[in-house]
């Protein structure tokens, strides 16, 4: 996304401004806490303590972060191509169908390390497929990707309800979910890694899909900054006109980018299904696809930033649960507010404080920002 603003030193651009935006988002969230009659500073302390205080909390934080890394990467890949994929929720949800089928078919025959790759492929394929139709319609028929992906979220929800209430549910059961997966489709835990550092963990669902998430973050970095296709994607994202002029196929780039984005969104379904609940249940994604938007915006669309932002949101989810326990006036929905505020301040209002930061830099050391800063001030 191009900016009409003057340049800042890189550390200010990628470090200072996101921190300011985040800080303002938390100050506003603090006001909400004040509004319900609690002390925001104590709330923050409880939240951080709950997320990082004990090994148990750290494991849960990383468990939540795993899902958010996938959904954040999904949003980022599409965004580099100038597309806003708001359909991660639906793509992840429908991927549960692929995972369910693979796990139910193979969990009694294969060990987990063979089921897992199959499930990855199935999840990615279903997610990519669910992104393919909106991508095709955007590329070929010019329908707006945001609207079609929203519609596909709802269609996915209907399909999954139909599948879980009717087809995938074991006979005689009332709950709208598949049967519990056997050992062959349960991912091993990674809790021992945290225990190496001396922490005690009773039980936490932190599992090997975290490693997959980190691998994907690396692959996304390679894809976007080290391959020809990534270069074409970024070109198209910056200026579709320039890309067309350079002979880059618009259809190919949109469809490929969206399918990769959909595949990443699909993979986020692995963590809650195979890693935690060991079944595919109704509404198991529970908003993680939308968290990806906040994560990607906060991470400035860079894999490293996304991993950090995902851990921050994992912390909010884990700490938020503790917070709701400690302060009954604050429910877990506080996280949803914070999520909204982060999207508002780090996304829609990302340039609000920029002119002030630039003015500050210009007055402190004019050389770092150059002459343009003076003109950029009025922006």
């Amino acid at each position: 996304m191009s900016t009409p603003y003057a340049k800042l030193p890189a550390w200010a651009d990628y470090g200072l401004i996101p921190v300011i935006n985040l800080f303002v988002a938390f100050v506003v969230a603090g006001l909400v806490v004040l509004l319900v009659g609690e002390n925001p500073l104590r709330a923050a302390a409880v939240l951080v303590e709950g997320a990082f205080g004990r090994g148990q909390g750290i494991a849960f934080t990383l468990f939540y972060a795993t899902t958010f890394i996938f959904s954040g990467l999904s949003v980022a890949v599409a965004a580099h191509c100038g597309l806003f994929n708001i359909g991660g929720e639906g793509q992840g949800y429908i991927a549960g169908l692929g995972i369910g089928i693979v796990c139910l078919a193979f969990d009694s025959v294969l060990p987990w390390w063979l089921t897992f790759p199959l499930a990855i492929v199935a999840a990615a394929a279903m997610g990519a497929l669910w992104a393919l139709i909106p991508a095709y319609l955007q590329a070929k028929r010019g329908s707006h990707i945001v609207i079609t992906t929203i519609m596909f979220n709802f269609i996915a929800a209907s399909v999954m309800v139909y599948a879980l209430v009717g087809v995938l549910k074991p006979a005689g059961s009332m709950a709208p979910q598949t049967r519990t997966f056997l050992d062959g489709a349960q991912l091993p835990k990674l809790n021992w890694v945290i225990e190496l550092f001396g922490a005690k963990i009773r039980s936490a669902p932190f599992n090997v899909s975290f490693l997959l998430a980190l691998a994907m973050a690396f692959l996304v970095w390679v894809l976007i900054w080290r391959t020809r296709f990534g270069y074409e994607m970024r070109t198209y994202g910056h200026s579709p006109k320039a890309a067309r002029y350079a002979g880059i196929s618009e259809t190919r780039i949109i469809i490929m980018a969206m399918m990769i984005s959909g595949a990443l969104a699909g993979m986020m379904a692995l963590n809650p299904t195979m890693g935690d609940q060991h079944n595919v249940a109704l509404d198991f994604v529970s908003g993680a696809g939308f968290v990806g938007i906040a994560v990607a915006l906060m991470g400035r669309l860079h894999p490293v930033g996304i991993v950090l932002a995902a851990i921050l949101f994992g912390m909010l989810y884990q700490g938020g649960a503790e917070l709701a326990f400690e302060m009954p006036a604050i429910s877990r929905d506080m996280i949803v507010i914070i999520q909204g505020l982060v999207i508002l301040f780090a996304g829609a209002l990302e340039h609000m404080f920029r002119p002030y930061v630039q003015a500050l830099f210009a007055s402190l050391s004019p050389r770092t920002v150059g002459m343009e800063a003076v003109k950029g001030k009025g922006a």
Partner: protein
């Protein structure tokens, strides 16, 4: 006669179900015609519903509730304006943010203020909008065919229902017969031309968003104070997005919007009515299929298979004044 009564009942619930869609759809019409995409309709309806029900139960007045619903909804519309007009942020990102803030804050404040798990207290009779009985509705009830149509279908709705249907010709008149409407449409097609004529693009777009806020506020109040006697968490349940779909379906025209919303309301009413009953010829239709139908129809329409939906040209693009 049984079939006839069933049809009247389905049509009656069609009207009830399409009113919130219609109000939200017209709300979206104002902002999108002015070149501001608004996927925050959902969130603004939700805060409207919460503020309306909360104020009505505290002040024991339906009209104060409605006023509060409009006020808070407009405030959220102005946040959207501040981000996307003043600071030229991404309009879609800002809309998503508003939906999240609305979803979280309504539950949290509801829980903190009323301690009923995110609900507001059930509204009494003076705190809700009651049904308006048209003259002679009871006397004519016995007349075959026309009686039920008059007394069930036309009479007996709340003020807000009639307001929603009056808003359709009114919106048409504002957009296509007033100077404000002409400018509003112009700012959505070619803001540079409006700017050249010496009219403030930002102020025009802000006014369009205020109209949006008023209408989403009424839509929210309808949900919590007419359809339901109080606020329940996430009570909009995607209606804001269906309204957005209806808006595209209607190709950004007020009268079409009414028909699109009635169609989506009808599908909803039908799916409730047909739950579990087999249809002749087709057999039993899964409820989920009927629920997904509005979305599928919108996707097909967007793909250009049922005529082409062309959005306002400057939609989604923040206006940068030349320097």
């Amino acid at each position: 006669m049984d079939l006839f009564n069933a049809i009247v009942q389905v049509l009656d619930s069609t009207i009830r179900l399409s009113v919130p869609l219609l109000l939200a759809c017209l709300a979206g019409l104002y902002s999108e015609r002015a070149g501001v995409f608004d996927i925050g309709l959902e969130g603004k309806m939700l805060v409207g519903a919460f503020a309306g029900a909360a104020a009505a139960s505290v002040f024991h007045s339906a009209y104060l509730g409605l006023g509060m619903a409009i006020l808070i909804s407009v405030a959220f519309a102005l946040i959207h304006g501040f981000a996307s007009i003043t600071h030229r942020g991404n309009q879609i990102v800002s809309g998503v943010a508003i939906n999240f803030i609305a979803a979280g804050s309504t539950i949290m404040l509801g829980q903190a203020w009323f301690q009923q798990g995110g609900r507001t207290p059930a509204l009494g009779s003076g705190e809700r909008f009651g049904a308006v009985i048209w003259p002679g509705a009871d006397a004519l009830r016995g007349v075959p065919i026309l009686g039920p149509i008059y007394s069930e279908l036309i009479s007996g709705h709340s003020v807000l229902v009639y307001l929603a249907f009056v808003a359709v010709p009114f919106t048409w008149w504002v957009l296509f017969r007033t100077r404000f409407g002409l400018r509003l449409r112009a700012v959505g097609e070619n803001p540079a031309a409006v700017d050249t004529a010496g009219i403030s693009v930002a102020w025009l777009r802000y006014r369009a968003l205020i109209c949006t806020g008023v209408l989403t506020g009424i839509a929210g109040a309808y949900l919590s104070m007419v359809q339901n006697g109080g606020f329940v968490k996430d009570m909009t349940a995607g209606k804001g997005y269906i309204a957005l779909a209806a808006l595209i379906f209607a190709k950004w025209k007020p009268v079409n919007a009414m028909f699109a919303c009635l169609l989506f309301g009808f599908l909803d009413a039908l799916s409730i009515r047909l739950q579990g009953t087999p249809l002749p010829l087709i057999g039993k239709v899964p409820v989920q299929f009927m629920q997904a139908l509005p979305y599928v129809l919108t996707v097909i329409l967007l793909a250009g298979f049922i005529g082409k939906a062309i959005p306002p040209r400057a939609g989604g693009v923040p206006y940068v004044k030349e320097r």
